[in-house]
């Protein structure tokens, strides 16, 4: 290399490195760079006139439920310029914005992500926002609020709620001489027998699924039905090796084994036209399964004449249970406009906002000549009001039963508590179930491994949190 070449190369390297340093955005400067980090300067006041920008990450007003409430929020925000970064919350995008100290003003996340975000300091506690803006937390469903409460502080404002109900094919039940009680979860032996009676497997080829226990996702539901929680109430101790969890897993897996194995059921399930008029219920190839309430809308839309039957999911005592999930609003640390973010979160979840949105939805459904099946939110007050004002008997006992079951389930929910290692905890138990379903491990060994993995992750994450707090 000549001297000139070396000089040019050095110049280019220096330029590259210095530009790279500028682009890194992850220096040791602990100040967030946003005025909002100075929490003393934040005043949450419902009467305050707000301005500036409000970028909302993870939310799209794609239907009347979102649009009506967003309009109300924009009105409450006055001069604030609201922009939506639509689609589900992109964790990489959110983390990148945090790393480069340019977070959005507000995020819309799954409630089960809140604990992890809170423990890492990615989002701020909303106690002052709640107090300042006068948000009445008593209107929120307790499990929903629990899910966004981390170490005693509320970090999220609950929005939608999702629950499961038992969805069954009446024609297949009748043909097998069964009733809904045989498949609603209250008696596992009855479900196993119903599964045996309804499924059809000719020469290893499954043509009718008797019962789908919906593993891996519904292990928490079956464990709870058997009286066990996967995680302790304080979110610190994994309970995956609880004998009742093991019993639940063994039973739920046995449902697949009786039909030729999980592979056969999954392959058949995957080949179905899940969202179309040729869905498994309409084509009489699925006996029953627990499923989220939104699927009632799908079925009612695409196959209103399907021979359906609905009930809640019940525990072994016969009581209704539902494993709730949903979304929540949270304010990132360093949010440039937390006051506006808090106002938007408040307005979007106000009882009046939900009622206005439900009214718009009910009208839209009526115009289409379709059934309004209600709206499940994290706001119990709003749910009750919407049910009373807009949910009317359709005259079709089947779909009315679906709505009744949905609302009953919504009153009997449980959640996994907020914790700082949510993703690792979830991965641990789901991987365990998958190893069993894939035939790689026995249930006991799989859950023991999951218990170790989950507890290790929880211990490490809590230790970090406790050290920071201590």
């Amino acid at each position: 290399m000549t001297r000139a070449t070396a000089r040019w190369s050095a110049l280019v390297v220096a330029a590259g490195l210095s530009l790279g340093a500028c682009a890194s955005g992850t220096g040791d400067d602990s100040s967030s760079g946003s005025g909002s980090d100075d929490e003393n300067s934040i005043t949450f006041d419902p009467e305050a006139e707000l301005s500036g920008e409000l970028n909302v990450m993870g939310f799209g007003a794609t239907d009347e439920i979102g649009q009506v409430r967003l309009d109300a929020a924009k009105e409450a925000l006055g001069d604030v310029d609201v922009s939506l970064i639509e689609g589900d919350l992109d964790i990489q995008q959110f983390l990148s914005s945090m790393a480069t100290e340019t977070p959005p003003e507000l995020i819309y996340a799954n409630r089960d992500q809140i604990g992890t975000f809170a423990s890492r300091g990615a989002i701020i506690p909303l106690d002052e926002c709640i107090e300042g803006e006068g948000i009445d937390t008593s209107m929120f469903r307790e499990p929903a609020l629990d899910q966004v409460t981390f170490d005693g502080s509320v970090y999220g404002i609950p929005e939608f709620n999702s629950v499961q109900i038992t969805q069954a094919n009446q024609k297949l039940l009748d043909a097998a001489g069964l009733t809904l009680d045989d498949v609603n979860g209250s008696n596992w032996e009855a479900i196993s027998a119903a599964n045996e009676a309804m499924h059809t497997n000719d020469g290893g080829k499954l043509s009718v699924i008797g019962f789908d226990s919906k593993l891996p996702e519904f292990l928490p539901l079956w464990a709870k039905a058997n009286g066990a929680d996967l995680l302790s109430e304080d979110g610190r101790t994994a309970q995956l090796d609880d004998p009742k969890v093991l019993e639940a897993l063994e039973w739920a897996v046995s449902i697949y084994d009786a039909q030729g194995g999980f592979g056969a059921v999954k392959a058949y399930r995957d080949s179905a036209d899940f969202f179309g008029e040729g869905n498994q219920f309409a084509t009489n190839v699925l006996g029953a399964m627990p499923m989220e309430q939104w699927y009632v809308n799908v079925l009612n839309d695409v196959s209103p004449d399907a021979p359906m039957a609905f009930d809640t999911v019940r525990d072994l005592e016969g009581e209704t249970i539902a494993y709730a999930s949903g979304s929540a609003w949270a304010i990132p640390k360093g949010s440039p406009n937390p006051e506006a973010a808090c106002r938007l979160a408040k307005t979007m979840t106000l009882t009046d906002s939900w009622i206005a949105a439900a009214e718009a939805r009910a009208e839209a459904r009526a115009e289409e000549g379709k059934l309004f099946t209600g709206l499940l939110t994290g706001n119990a007050e709003a749910d009750d009001a919407i049910y009373e004002q807009f949910v009317k008997p359709s005259g079709d006992a089947t779909w009315d039963a679906a709505i009744e079951a949905t609302y009953e389930a919504n009153d009997h929910t449980f959640v996994l508590p907020a914790n700082p290692a949510d993703s690792e905890f979830k991965t641990a138990w789901q991987d365990a179930v998958n190893r069993v379903l894939n035939g790689q491990q026995e249930p006991k060994a799989a859950l023991e491994q999951a218990q170790n993995e989950a507890q290790e992750a929880l211990d490490a994450a809590w230790a970090e949190w406790d050290a920071d707090e201590g």
């Binding site: 330029a15 590259g16 490195l17 790279g20 890194s24 592979g263 080949s271």
Partner: protein
């Protein structure tokens, strides 16, 4: 005005020419560097600097949100204790070991066929290349459809021959073979490269071989393969690296949003595990250590391939 000494030693013509040549070369070098400087700067900003920075991050506990804490070699020690690293490496090695030779063989076979295709070569070239245009995410979804154990096209085709196809998407034994077969979907680009190389093989070599009585196989093995060994080596090395970094199709099919809860350990490739650690568990420091381990592995395999290539790869104009 003093007259310059006429007897001063004259600069020899050779040396003048040499200096002029050097000046020209310097100018050209400078101009070349100037022209490629956008790329060089881009390389340092978007590649070299992240590489260097990830080296630093691999020595820290970093969750992307808070500042990194220096932890020394703890992340590297953890690599050797982590069972999932072992599993992910096993899966990745298996995939690469089978997929790369198969990919090269299929690419070569198709290129040889195309080379004989005559007028219709253009159509087939496009037809083979089109699947390469499919986004990898779509290929992942396609895998679930084509390899569905109940109604997938692959098992239906096997059924015509009386073969009861396996559960490609759930049986751990068949998950990786399914992914390997699916990867052949995108052989198009390699086929085009090999076809270009095949077109450059001098016809006289085949004519001479035929005169000497060589059959098709002998011509292929003794002339074609050696003459396109440079292109074959390129495809081999690039696919080996891609094999070690395989991610999108397997992630989409077995870990992505289409399968929010179902996953399969058999498809846990190294980069998928790295991604989980970085963006799901927020262990960016550990993920950086994982990335460096992969870098070292790829470097070792590439170095081995380079050494081996000296014996088997022939470049045009090369004297041996």
């Amino acid at each position: 005005m003093a007259r310059p000494a006429l007897d001063a030693p004259a600069v020899p013509a050779d040396e003048r020419a040499l200096r002029a040549k050097r000046r020209l070369r310097r100018r050209e070098t400078r101009a070349a560097l100037l022209f490629i400087s956008p790329w060089i700067i881009g390389f340092f900003v978007f590649t070299a600097w992240p590489i260097i920075y990830s080296g630093y991050l691999s020595l820290t506990d970093y969750d992307v949100i808070n500042d990194p804490n220096f932890v020394g070699l703890a992340n590297y020690e953890r690599l050797f204790e982590d069972d999932k690293v072992r599993l992910a490496l096993q899966n990745t090695f298996f995939f690469t070991l089978i997929q790369v030779p198969l990919y090269v063989i299929v690419s070569l076979a198709l290129a040889l066929l195309l080379n004989k295709a005559g007028r219709s070569a253009g159509f087939f070239r496009t037809a083979f290349f089109l699947p390469k245009m499919t986004p990898p995410v779509a290929v992942g979804i396609l895998l679930l459809l084509l390899f569905n154990g109940q109604s997938g096209m692959i098992n239906q085709a096997l059924g015509w021959f009386g073969v009861d196809g396996p559960a490609w998407t759930t049986d751990p034994t068949w998950v990786k073979p399914g992914l390997i077969l699916m990867s052949l979907w995108s052989v198009g680009a390699s086929v085009i490269i090999l076809l270009a190389a095949l077109r450059n093989v001098p016809q006289e070599l085949y004519d001479s071989a035929r005169v000497d009585g060589a059959n098709w196989w002998q011509q292929t093995w003794r002339i074609t393969v050696p003459m396109i060994s440079g292109a074959l080596f390129f495809i081999f090395i690039v696919n080996t690296i891609a094999g070690f970094q395989t991610f999108t199709e397997a992630y989409t099919a077995f870990f992505g949003s289409g399968n929010t809860t179902y996953s399969n350990d058999a498809a846990l490739f190294y980069v998928i595990y790295l991604f989980q650690q970085a963006f799901e568990f927020l262990h960016m420091g550990y993920a950086s250590a994982l990335a460096w381990l992969l870098f070292v592995i790829i470097m070792i395999f590439t170095a081995i391939q380079m050494v081996v290539s000296r014996r088997f790869v022939y470049y045009e104009g090369e004297q041996r």
